[in-house]
């Protein structure tokens, strides 16, 4: 993170702390002055950077969507050569303009958004060309197109240090894994249990993120991988908390030891990444717990893949779901990162609401369901808000180890 980016983020964070009553306006000014953020007017300009970034990214997304819609609506009226040429020209124009803005006019944010637009047009081109040349249903089918989209996006992410493009590339890769599994095992007894590979893939993404943190040149990507891995993992674990899925697996008669090799290959890949962490990461308690948790998750995945027919898995995945939520809150607290606390509490809230609906929907009359549910939700919100306030207050108190609070000066 460069100095300007750090100061912008600090300016954004301290404004949140001031609004939350954690620090006074004078303390906010002192912190920013200490960090070299300058006068209040300069701070306001710094905060504007976040706004420009957000507007630029949204602009790139909207523009890319508009181009796709234009081609879709004028499908037959545009000659094939013109459609193909326009797509390539659009990509070149976006990259050229992005490059010029970043390196000639020093407009990093809008220029980066145009690079993102170039990648989006490239990805749109893959699918539009498949349509123009009537490719649906060939070996160049949509799952493979998602992988090819990632192949084009990831190099740009690394060469230009773009986290949003990296996230796009990870999204493409995850989509490819899910679509490939769904296409290879459609409507078969193995379908549900095969999806355990997606959970292992989530662990692999998280592990890749931890390994990125070890090299300063790619360390900024660490959070993106870890965040994406956690979301993928949570999505799968959440789906597996429903006992209906496991009843279907049992009813379909799927047998033990029948899971395809690709599932074990994915678990093996993730396990290798976990093993590498034990060799290269600094040894401390947090690292041991983190790696141990990854290993336990992969062990559960291997057990589920081997013996998928057991009705008790929904309980196991409920336990894993809430354990991940607790880990997120704890990690956020220990590292002074409010984002993880909020994500963890949101995960807890979603889990509780889901279980309430799952259990009581058929047991209670409609009015009672909503009245009790409303009261429970208010109670949960009260408890979470109280806990969140306590945690954030705790984060603001300097600790003896002196290293946890972000932005602390030596």
């Amino acid at each position: 993170m460069d100095d300007e980016e750090y100061r912008e983020r600090l300016a954004h964070d301290v404004a949140t702390w001031t609004r939350g009553g954690l620090i006074s306006a004078e303390q906010e000014g002192a912190i920013l002055a200490r960090a070299g953020a300058g006068a209040p007017r300069a701070v306001g300009i710094l905060r504007l950077g976040w706004f420009v970034t957000a507007v630029s990214i949204i602009g790139a997304l909207v523009l890319a969507g508009g181009v796709v819609l234009l081609f879709a609506s004028q499908w037959d009226t545009i000659p094939t050569w013109l459609r193909t040429g326009s797509i390539f020209a659009g990509m070149l124009a976006a990259y050229g303009a992005g490059y010029a803005l970043i390196y000639r006019f020093d407009m990093q944010r809008v220029g980066s958004a145009l690079l993102l637009l170039g990648v989006l047009l490239y990805e749109a081109a893959l699918f539009l060309l498949a349509e123009i040349y009537n490719m649906p249903g060939t070996p160049v089918d949509s799952p493979l197109l998602l992988l090819l989209a990632a192949v084009g996006a990831l190099p740009l992410a690394y060469l230009f240090e773009s986290r949003i493009v990296l996230l796009l590339g990870i999204l493409n890769t995850t989509g490819w894994v899910v679509a490939e599994l769904a296409m290879r095992y459609p409507d078969s007894p193995k379908s549900e249990s095969v999806m355990i590979a997606v959970g292992a893939f989530g662990v692999a993404l998280y592990a890749v993120g931890q390994l990125h943190a070890l090299r300063p040149s790619i360390a900024p990507f660490s959070a993106v991988y870890r965040f994406a891995g956690l979301l993928v993992l949570l999505a799968l674990v959440y789906a597996f908390t429903f006992d209906e899925i496991w009843r279907q697996v049992i009813d379909s008669g799927v047998k033990a030891y029948s899971t395809p090799a690709v599932v074990y290959a994915t678990i093996g890949l993730a396990a290798a990444l976990v093993a590498v962490q034990t060799l290269v990461r600094a040894r401390d308690t947090e690292m041991s717990i983190d790696i141990g948790a990854q290993a336990v998750l992969l062990a559960v995945a291997a057990v589920v893949a081997t013996w998928p027919g057991w009705s008790g898995y929904s309980l196991v995945f409920n336990a894993i779901y809430f354990a991940i939520a607790a880990a997120l809150v704890t990690s956020g607290y220990l590292h002074g990162d409010e984002r993880f606390i909020n994500l963890g509490l949101a995960v807890v809230g979603l889990g509780l609401i889901t279980r309430y609906i799952d259990v009581f929907w058929s047991m209670l009359a409609g009015s009672a369901f909503f009245i009790i549910g409303g009261v429970l939700l208010l109670g949960v919100a009260f408890a979470i808000e109280r806990m969140r306030s306590g945690l954030i207050r705790g984060m603001s108190v300097p600790r003896g180890d002196g290293g946890a609070t972000r932005g602390a000066t030596p």
Binding site: A72, W75, D76, T77, F88, M91, L92, Y95, Y99, I102, Y103, Y122, A125, L126, L129, A130, E131, Y133, N134, M135, P136, G137, T138, P139, V140, D141, L145, L148, V151, G152, P155, L156, L159, F160, M183, R184, Y185, P186, D187, S188, P189, K190
Partner: protein
């Protein structure tokens, strides 16, 4: 490395991927056998307004008792299966065998690769097979140009390369190619 070189690498890589996709597709079209596959009787008015129409071919459901089905050929769970097609007198191609590998048992046949989806036990020994050619391009709003009812023979011209990969080209109604246009 200068930023310009980095950008050049990215652009070259992305264009390579895009042209590879096009080249692979054109290679498949140029070097492939052309087969005419009959559709299952269906009311084509049900075609969606989108650009793809999902169709079902006669070879989408194969009766294991009426063709030579290898013991080792897959019958379910997405297992690969190579269906051997033979040209009939009416120009349409029909399945005569199913194998687990790219093997011809009769001269002049074409092998199309599919994935067995499972057996319909209530219909005897019928196996459902997915070939990846079930989505055929139909310009938006043009599905009404296709005839409906059972009085017509509706087929799709399909290109099949030497590996068994297939690509749908266009509809053929009563032996005549149909060029659909947007309405």
């Amino acid at each position: 490395m200068s930023p310009a070189k980095k950008l050049a690498i990215v652009i070259v890589l992305q264009f390579l991927v895009l042209f590879s996709v096009l080249a692979f597709k054109q290679y498949t079209v140029w070097t492939s056998e052309t087969v005419l596959l009959k559709l299952q009787p269906a009311d084509l008015r049900d075609f969606p307004r989108a650009n793809d129409a999902t169709v079902e071919y006669e070879i989408s459901r194969l009766d294991r008792t009426s063709i030579a089905w290898d013991e080792s050929a897959g019958t379910c769970c997405g297992m690969p299966v190579y269906v051997e097609l033979q040209k009939q007198d009416d120009g349409l191609w029909k399945a005569i065998a199913a194998h687990d590998s790219h093997t011809h048992t009769v001269d002049g046949t074409v092998l199309i690769k599919g994935r067995a989806q499972g057996e319909y036990l209530y219909q005897g020994q019928t196996v459902s097979v997915y070939y990846g050619i079930e989505d055929v391009f139909v310009p938006e709003g043009s599905a009404s140009q296709l005839p409906t009812g059972r009085d017509h023979t509706i087929a799709v011209e399909v290109k099949v390369d030497r590996f068994g990969n297939a690509t749908p080209r266009h509809f053929v109604v009563d032996g005549q190619q149909v060029d659909l246009s947007r309405r």
